[in-house]
Amino acid sequence: MKYSIALITIILLACSLQAFAQDNTPVEMADTLRRDGKIYTVVAGLVVILTGFVVFLIRVDRKLHKMEEEAKQN
């Protein structure tokens, strides 16, 4: 009876072990792609597409600039 509080505390603390929810299973990521170096192919493809858009954008910009210059001269 003297140590009943200590006993109850230890029992309750032991019950908390059930609450461990995080599992240790490894998360699958694209490590294979990285190990094979294929991730750089992915990035290269994206850079090609992005450059295509950028070239289009700059060409439109240049054309507008040309038209604005002509409009200013008139």
Binding site: V27, M29, A30, V43, V47, L50, L57, R62, M67, A71
Partner: protein
């Protein structure tokens, strides 16, 4: 005849865009279950919305300016900004839909943020329909300016206030906007902030191009 020179902010936009595209795929990200590599979509999906909000806010500002000034240039600013904002909104919906399919197993859910964003974009689509239906330039500018103010005013509570009041799978619900300093993982902070700036600036570039085109067309018609 001044030579064409790419403005400093355009060069900066390109640098930041390339950094986002390359760093977004090569730099490390947190390893999380269910999300796996699709977490990298965060670098693209979220900046779409930032860019859209920037354009819509700019647009409503110029709509208000038009109502006060009656200068057609203000209406031009508002119109092209709405166009770019709508484009980024649609891109945001598409990227979000693809991400949803990868993580939730479906392209769409009955979720307050998703549905409200779709409704909000449809309200802006009606803005374009309204403009198309009006012939007189002044009337078109004035009515669409008023409509734009209403559209923006309803858009804010639709996508920012209502979804946060309820729980949802979509991040930014249940009273948590998930944009506090410690909500983003540290290695993701390397790209996400740059990406947001890059896409806001890209949207701004699109807007300036559309505006210059509209002004030149207007000049051309007046000749």
């Amino acid at each position: 005849m001044t030579r064409y020179r790419l403005a400093w902010w355009k060069v900066l936009t390109l640098i930041l865009l390339y950094y986002t595209a390359i760093g977004g795929f090569l730099l490390p990200v947190p390893r999380l279950h269910i999300l796996n590599e699709s977490i990298r979509l965060n670098y693209f999906h979220v900046p779409m919305w930032f860019s859209m909000m920037f354009q819509f806010a700019y647009s409503v500002w110029y709509s208000i300016r038009y109502l006060r000034s009656s200068a057609i240039e203000d209406d031009d600013h508002a119109f092209v900004a709405t166009q770019v904002g709508f484009l980024f909104g649609v891109l945001g919906l598409i990227t979000g839909s693809l991400w949803a399919n990868a993580t939730w197993g479906t392209f769409w859910t009955t979720d307050p943020k998703l549905n409200n964003t779709a409704i909000g974009l449809m309200i802006y689509a009606a803005y374009f329909v309204l403009r198309g239906g009006l012939q007189d330039e002044t009337q078109r500018a004035r009515l669409s300016a008023v409509y734009n103010i209403f559209a923006f005013s309803i858009f804010i509570p639709l996508i920012y206030i209502l979804p946060r009041m309820t729980d949802s799978l979509h991040p930014g619900s249940g009273d948590n906007p998930t944009f506090r300093l410690f909500d983003t993982a540290h290695n993701m902070k390397l790209v996400i902030y740059t990406s947001i700036i890059a896409f806001i600036m890209t949207g701004w570039w699109f807007k300036t191009i559309l505006f210059r085109l509209r002004t030149l067309t207007r000049l051309h018609h007046e000749i």
